[in-house]
């Protein structure tokens, strides 16, 4: 099954009859829309001549100031000059890759890894080498041996791409003890760390861990985003990088997009100024925790033969299917049953991960999540029967990154 076929199957996910456990759309319904609407009105009426004009390539200064305060919650001390605002952190990913990667260069990343990053890396013809995770995140010993092996092969590793908090899709968090270990290993091998942290403030049970950037300001490029803590529609993310890199990122960004949207940046600055944004994040956390609980309870009730982690933050549960099942070849059945998920192979560069799927609990209500998992259970039973009859899965080799478009929740 090719990528276009998978995308076509995802097309039904936008219909209300389908319970989509596929997308990563935050629960925007939880925002105080009236209040934000009034702010937007004031922004245009009072500051429209700036908001609707071109802005600085590096980003709106007032917002950059705010961003330093947001990052302080995770222990990062940075100056507004260190921040480059981007069109979502996805653009920051693309800029960093543009600046650092020549075709054939190696990027080391967790196994599995964020599909949107893999797509960028593939577009720049990088080679991605995966390193395993366990329940405490990236495994330092495994990272070291992988870097040593690559060095021995004479391969040039440019950076480690990592999502340390509430990993997408893995759902795990890199433990506090491991953070300095990973940084030390990378330093020793001369490998930069690209820390992608959209979910850091969305933990359910504890205060945020210190970011890796807070422990090393020279060896880490940090990516942040308002997409999960506020709203992805504004498309505002940012990068924090050492001085020399930052200048290159600004130049690359200017040549790509001139400047990020002033209106979006100023709207977010206003929201951070006037709204109880930390209180809102707390509300989001409670809503997401309730949804996580609904999903875990439904998995225990309906698909006990599968296995999964219980995430303590973020949006995703990473589910291992019963032996012999292939998540991708099962997808047409799921579409027929009116439920959608993302097959695990999307999150690997090398086509592995076929017996995994990513379920997201961020968007559907707890009742819909339960119904979705119930439908999924029927899909699993039916596929297991077919696989048992024929003694093989329907999986074929895969070479492309498959993913629904971002608005398929």
């Amino acid at each position: 099954m090719r990528s276009s076929e998978i995308r076509a199957l995802f097309a039904v996910a936008s219909r209300p009859e389908v319970v989509s456990l596929a997308g990563g759309m935050p629960y925007i319904g939880g925002l105080p829309l009236e209040e934000i609407g009034e702010m937007m009105r004031r922004l245009i009426v009072e500051q429209g001549e700036t908001a609707l004009q071109y802005g600085s390539g590096q980003g709106h200064e007032g917002l950059r100031e705010h961003i330093t305060h947001v990052m302080a919650l995770e222990g990062i001390r940075a100056h507004p000059d260190d921040v480059v605002v981007t069109t979502g952190s996805q653009q920051a990913l693309d800029l960093v890759t543009t600046v650092f990667i020549d075709p054939g260069d190696v990027i080391v990343a967790e196994a599995p890894s964020y599909v949107g990053a893999l797509g960028v890396f593939r577009a720049h013809e990088a080679d991605v080498v995966h390193v395993p995770m366990d329940e405490n995140g990236l495994v330092p010993v495994a990272l070291e041996s992988r870097l040593a092996a690559l060095k021995a092969e004479g391969r040039r590793v440019k950076f480690l791409y990592t999502v340390p908090n509430y990993h997408n899709p893995g759902g795990v968090t890199l433990s506090l003890e491991r953070r300095p270990q990973i940084l030390e290993i990378c330093r020793r091998y001369g490998v930069l760390v690209l820390e992608d942290n959209p979910y850091g403030l969305l933990g359910f049970d504890r205060e945020p861990l210190p970011a890796m950037r807070s422990m090393d300001s020279e060896g880490v490029i940090y990516l942040g985003s308002f997409s999960k803590t506020f709203a992805p529609g504004f498309r505002v993310g940012w990068a924090v990088a050492p001085h020399a890199v930052r200048e290159k990122l600004v130049l690359a960004s200017e040549s790509a997009i001139l400047c990020p949207s002033n209106a979006s940046q100023m709207a977010i600055a206003m929201y951070l100024d006037h709204a109880d944004w930390q209180g809102q994040i707390k509300k989001f956390r409670e809503q997401y925790r309730e949804r996580r609980d609904a999903m875990i309870a439904a998995l225990e009730e309906f698909i006990p033969e599968a296995s999964w982690n219980v995430p303590d933050g973020g949006f995703y549960v990473w589910v291992k299917l019963p032996e012999g099942l292939d998540a991708k070849s099962m997808l047409p059945r799921a579409v027929t049953a009116r439920v959608a998920y993302v097959p695990g192979t999307a999150f690997y560069y090398d086509g592995s991960g076929s017996n995994y799927m990513r379920l997201s609990y961020c968007y559907p209500t707890p009742e819909r999540i339960r119904e979705g998992v119930r439908r999924l259970a029927g899909v699993v039973v039916a596929e297991m029967e077919t696989v048992k009859i024929f003694g093989t899965t329907g999986a074929g080799p895969t070479t492309t990154v498959q993913f629904p478009s971002p608005d398929m929740a």
Binding site: M1, R2, S3, S4, E5, R7, A8, L9, A11, V12, R15, P16, E17, V18, S329, M330, L331, P332, R333, V335, T336, R338, E383, E385, T386, V387, I389, F390, G391, T392, T393, G394, A395, G396
Partner: protein, 314 residues
């Protein structure tokens, strides 16, 4: 004349249907026709009931509910005029082995085939059924869902080791598989307009594909080269056109259809019937219209007008 296009649906081919719908809307609008697009949901029946006297429905749903006759049944129940084949004929054309059995009786050639439900493999033992299959149908063969389109769930099996895998893939789309002898000739699609004695063909379109003509090849430009009209001599052209007309008439198809076939040793072997053929920018029927020299918008308008006149004369 107002046209209500139905596109989307909940089938595996939703994406293609939406693209087809937009395409036809643009073309009709270029002729000044007032067009709206609706999906099939609980808001549909009120929309149908609100249609004026000078309005017609064009169902462009692909796959189940759009092509299996159920949507047509609904339109007949509500009593609105619509473009295309009626529900009874649609439901026969929809199930590939049933359609093959019907048009083969009318002396239209089609590759030898067998229909196998998943339950048969469970009851009689998959290994033994597969062994019997390979004995009777020498490789290569094609495994496809008995219902459905756009080549979803279709595999070409060239080695016995691929067979079980192909069956699993096929059964993910439905509980009935059709296994067919694979043919390797010139792949041709002939579109037919009108109905009964008035049915007429559009120029045949030839498909030359790098690798299998699968879903990816159909909807993403690049891997396929189309020739419209097909590069066939007069005799071969007559053969494919006669086969398409015969199928269209035997199956009682109305207004438009696309008949897919493989021309092997001078014989047109029909492999698929589409009563709601794709209308996207890479689809075959619009290419055939362009090859005929007709304007897409004008032709779509005349299809609607003909269907509306037929409804009024009933």
């Amino acid at each position: 004349m107002d046209v209500l296009i139905l596109a989307g649906g909940l089938s595996h081919e939703r994406d293609v249907s939406i693209r087809s719908g937009r395409r036809v809307k643009d073309e009709l609008e270029s002729r000044g026709v007032k067009v709206s697009i609706a999906d099939v949901d609980t808001a549909l029946i009120p929309k149908l009931r609100a249609m004026g006297d000078d309005a017609i429905v064009w169902p462009l749903l692909h796959g189940a509910s759009g092509e299996d006759g159920s949507l047509q049944a609904l339109l007949e129940l509500v009593g609105v005029p619509f473009v295309g084949t009626r529900s009874r004929e649609a439901s026969v054309a929809w199930v590939k082995p049933v359609a093959k059995a019907v048009f083969a009786r009318g002396s239209v050639a089609t590759p030898d085939y067998v229909t196998l439900p998943q339950s048969l493999f469970r009851e009689a033992g998959a290994d033994q059924v597969l062994a019997a299959l390979v004995e009777r149908f020498p490789l290569p063969l094609v495994v496809k869902p008995a219902r459905g389109g756009s080549a979803l769930g279709v595999s070409l099996v060239t080695d016995p080791s691929q067979l079980a895998h192909a069956m699993v893939q096929c059964f993910a789309y439905g509980d009935m598989a059709m296994v067919e002898r694979a043919l390797f000739g010139t792949e041709v699609a002939v579109s037919v307009l009108g109905s009964g004695d008035d049915a007429r063909v559009l120029p045949a379109v030839e498909i030359q594909c790098e690798g299998p003509y699968d879903y990816d090849a159909r909807y993403n430009p690049g891997r396929v080269e189309y020739f419209a009209p097909a590069r066939l001599d007069a005799e071969a052209t007559a053969e494919v056109e006669n086969a398409a007309l015969a199928v269209h008439r035997i199956m009682g198809l109305v207004d438009l259809s696309r008949i897919d076939m493989i021309l092997e040793s001078g014989v047109a072997n029909v492999i698929d019937i589409n009563i709601a053929p794709g209308m996207t920018e890479t689809s075959l029927l619009p290419q055939a219209i362009e090859a005929s020299g007709a304007d897409l918008g004008a032709l779509y308008e005349s299809i609607c007008a003909e269907a509306l006149a037929r409804h009024r004369s009933r």
